[in-house]
């Protein structure tokens, strides 16, 4: 057996767990999931008072595998491993951290690739469109299952941040702190436009078959690949892309053809191929819809202050100057609404060059502030 050498501050080898829920879940769409399963991982130990639990919901293309590695795939390191671990900003020696795969996902939780309870076939295109509110409602069932009445914190970046914010609205008494990073209170028309291009790439792929492609033994790879490529462009800043790839020609000279010329083309194709091999197109469609629909102010005539009134948590909000997908001005809208509601809030605007993806990077100012914030959370 190969011995995997892991850094001291890794949570180490982790394993996925599943929880089954048999009480029907009523969805925002009006649909009902008669029963569902959530895949999750935990790191650290729940204390006797059950007061040290931190939920880490994931963003668009991640999963419940937040930190550590799997025994059989030691190269598969959790997506926020630089944030979560013993001695890391979210310190698993002190906190009990939970990663959960969202409903409709493709990493173990009930989703389009799961079997429909009555037909015995995969749900496919019939799986309902789920929302951030639905995800939070499902996560609350997991909290009940784990015996957690109140989270010390819910922390997320991007779409994960929307879930952290929604937690403070759906279950104000069950969240003491919310860390809302690289967030927006709602997608802009431009954000929705990018999502729609991604969805059109998928649904117009001849292998899509209305979402029932499993039955045809195919997957809409080309569509999913394009969706990932366009998404990736929005995660990086112009400067970060230029610095990473410049105008370097793969073959040294222009090819005067449509094969790969520039390094950035190679990168995007690689990212697209990689993603299309591991992600489910039906899940991608639904997650982008959840992003589009998220808009807590909508039910309050566009008044975000009124929308955030139920929240009782203390907030840590952070944005990154080069993030043009969810720009700092969007985070400031959230901060302003929290101030109007007299919530405790700290706001960091980090001058980082990486674009939206900065929330996943090692920036000492950002990681230092998250660390300091967690250190001050009483247990």
């Amino acid at each position: 057996m190969n011995t995997v050498l892991l850094p001291q501050d890794s949570v180490g080898v982790v394993s996925e767990q599943r929880a089954q829920f048999d009480v029907p879940l009523h969805l925002s769409s009006g649909g009902v999931l008669p029963r569902f399963e959530l895949a999750y991982e935990t790191y650290g130990t729940l204390n006797a008072a059950r007061s040290n639990a931190v939920l880490v919901p994931h963003a668009l293309n991640a999963s419940h595998h937040v930190a550590g590695v799997y025994a059989h795939t030691p190269q598969n390191v959790g997506w926020w491993d630089n944030m979560v671990g013993p001695g890391k900003p979210l310190d698993t020696r002190r906190f009990f951290v939970i990663g959960v795969n969202n409903l409709g996902g493709c990493h173990g939780s009930t989703g389009p690739i799961s079997m429909h309870p009555s037909s015995g076939q995969p749900w496919g295109g019939d799986f309902p469109v789920v929302t951030v509110e639905d995800w939070v409602a499902a996560q609350a069932r997991l909290a009940d299952f784990l015996g957690i009445d109140c989270f010390a914190a819910v922390m997320g970046g991007s779409l994960g941040a929307m879930q952290a914010l929604q937690w403070t609205l759906s279950f104000p008494q069950r969240v003491r702190h919310a860390l809302v990073i690289a967030a927006t209170p709602q997608l802009s028309a431009q954000n929705i436009a990018f999502n729609e291009v991604a969805r059109q790439a998928i649904v117009t792929d001849p292998d899509f078959h209305g979402g029932h492609y499993y039955a045809h033994g195919v997957v809409p790879r080309r569509g999913l690949r394009l969706a990932r490529m366009i998404g990736h462009i929005t995660y990086l800043s112009d400067d970060a892309m230029m610095e990473k790839f410049g105008r370097v020609l793969r073959r040294g000279t222009p090819g005067y053809d449509f094969d790969i010329d520039f390094e950035v083309e190679s990168y995007l194709r690689h990212q697209g191929d990689k993603f299309a091999g591991v992600f489910d197109a039906n899940t991608y469609l639904r997650i982008t819809k959840a992003l589009d629909y998220f808009d807590p102010a909508a039910a309050h005539g566009g008044d975000l202050t009124a929308a955030l009134a139920p929240s009782r948590a203390n907030f840590f909000v952070a944005s990154f100057t080069s993030d043009w997908r969810f720009a700092p001005s969007r985070s400031r809208e959230i901060v302003r609404a929290l101030l109007d509601n007299r919530r405790a809030v700290s706001y960091l605007e980090i001058d980082a060059p990486h674009g939206h993806d900065a929330f996943l990077m090692d920036d000492p100012r950002y990681l230092g502030a998250v660390r300091a914030y967690f250190e001050n959370i009483a247990l």
């Binding site: 405790a344 700290s346 706001y347 605007e349 230092g368 914030y373």
Partner: protein, 202 residues
């Protein structure tokens, strides 16, 4: 979290005065709050509900470590995030002389706070006057910077400031003039090196 209340630095006697003026459980906005020491002190000794505004990364981090609410924003772009009269006190301690849009910041402070507390070094102190008479820009404890390397761009005297306050229609509720940490009562514009004002528009 430490159990002992945060001590105010001995070099900042204006903070003592400010802390004395702030009523318990009030709402405080501290502009240019540094590492958050004043806010932490006010929270621990007076249970105030406070926020600080700070632009510097290291100081913002220090605020988070101090467990005070800090908002990383540029003062110069105004206080548009805050509603009218949403704070009992808006504090600007020893920063007025370093801001570019002095008048508009004062107006914004008066809009957001029921009371405004401002402290700054007095350029009218005799020592500064003497140095100028001698043909040099002053350097002293309260004005520690050499002219070519200073954040201070809008230095003023007590009389200058009070004249601006009059223009802005501000009522000065209280004034504390200090030198070496002690109150100065006679000839304040000559003998005081640091001044703290409490003001409002009503």
């Amino acid at each position: 979290m430490n159990s002992a209340p945060a001590l105010l630095p001995a070099r900042r006697p204006d903070l003592e005065a400010i802390a004395r003026w702030v009523k318990p459980q009030s709402r405080v906005l501290d502009l240019g709050c540094g590492d958050g020491t004043l806010l932490r002190h006010l929270w621990e000794t007076r249970a105030v509900h406070g926020y600080g505004i700070e632009i510097d990364d290291a100081k913002v981090l220090a605020c988070v470590q101090n467990d005070v609410n800090v908002l990383q924003m540029n003062l110069e772009s105004g206080l548009s995030a805050f509603k009218d009269a949403s704070f009992d006190y808006v504090i600007l301690s020893q920063t007025l002389q370093a801001v570019r849009h002095t008048e508009s910041i004062l107006r914004e402070m008066l809009r957001v706070g029921r009371e405004v507390i401002v402290s700054f070094p007095n350029f009218g102190h005799w020592n500064a006057r003497l140095q100028v008479l001698a043909g040099r820009m002053p350097v002293s404890t309260s004005l520690p910077y050499v002219w070519y390397d200073t954040p201070n761009i809008h230095l003023c005297t007590l009389d200058d400031f009070e004249s601006l306050a009059k223009t802005l229609g501000v009522r000065i509720g209280e004034r504390l003039v200090l030198h070496d940490g002690k109150a100065v009562h006679m000839l304040p514009n000559l003998r005081g090196s640091l001044v703290v004002y409490r003001m409002s528009t009503h």
